[in-house]
């Protein structure tokens, strides 16, 4: 079955510093991949999604960017972090290739920008 790995689990970064969060998926090929963010006390917002290598779609204008250098690798980056980038970042992918497959999430990275 599919497994989603995210690291690091927690991260504290100063304002203006760069960011790189990594997500890798095991157990499937050519998955759709997603980055969601959960701000404190709020719901989840879709940031980026990718349907293949090098294909990135952005859902909201922001200070972040995403890349997909390999089939099962999805990276979330920033050149200069803002305080408002703090939150819980979750990588997601469908459990399998079936049409009714549910979206599954990794364990997340809790980012605090100070």
């Amino acid at each position: 079955s599919q497994t989603i790995h995210q690291w690091p689990a927690t991260l504290v970064q100063p304002v203006g510093s760069p960011l790189s969060l990594e997500c890798t998926v095991e157990g499937t090929s050519n998955p759709n991949l997603y980055w969601y963010r959960q701000a404190a006390g709020r719901g989840l917002q879709l940031l980026f999604y990718s349907v293949g290598i090098g294909q990135i779609s952005s859902e909201v204008p922001q200070n972040l960017s995403a890349s997909r250098p390999q089939d099962r690798q999805f990276i979330l980056s920033s050149k200069k972090l803002l305080l408002s980038d703090s939150g819980f970042y979750l990588c997601a992918s469908y459990r399998d290739r079936r049409r009714n497959s549910p979206l599954h999430f990794g364990n997340g990275t809790r980012l605090t920008v100070t």
């Binding site: 719901g43 989840l44 819980f88 497959s101 979206l103 599954h104």
Partner: protein, 121 residues
Amino acid sequence: AQKVTQAQTEISVVEKEDVTLDCVYETRDTTYYLFWYKQPPSGELVFLIRRNSFDEQNEISGRYSWNFQKSTSSFNFTITASQVVDSAVYFCALSGEAGGHGSSNTGKLIFGQGTTLQVKP
């Protein structure tokens, strides 16, 4: 535009009580999909259920049950005989697309703000 509203921000119950979490959605799609996820204190999101808009049968899974009513655009979640381990944040979500990998599936899940459930012993 699609929208999911979970009006209950926090609910506190005593163990063994029944509790219902409300979810109201808005969409112009004739075909859509509704979800519930559980987020325990550890933070990971756990998939609970997925319903299609064309299947209004209610569903029961152990102590969990879901009431889907298209007439009121609601998809409520009931926990029977609640337990301390049920304490978590529960999210309702909506998507206009079926799941599964493929370029046609953008996987846009619209989430509600979540309901924090505290079950006291």
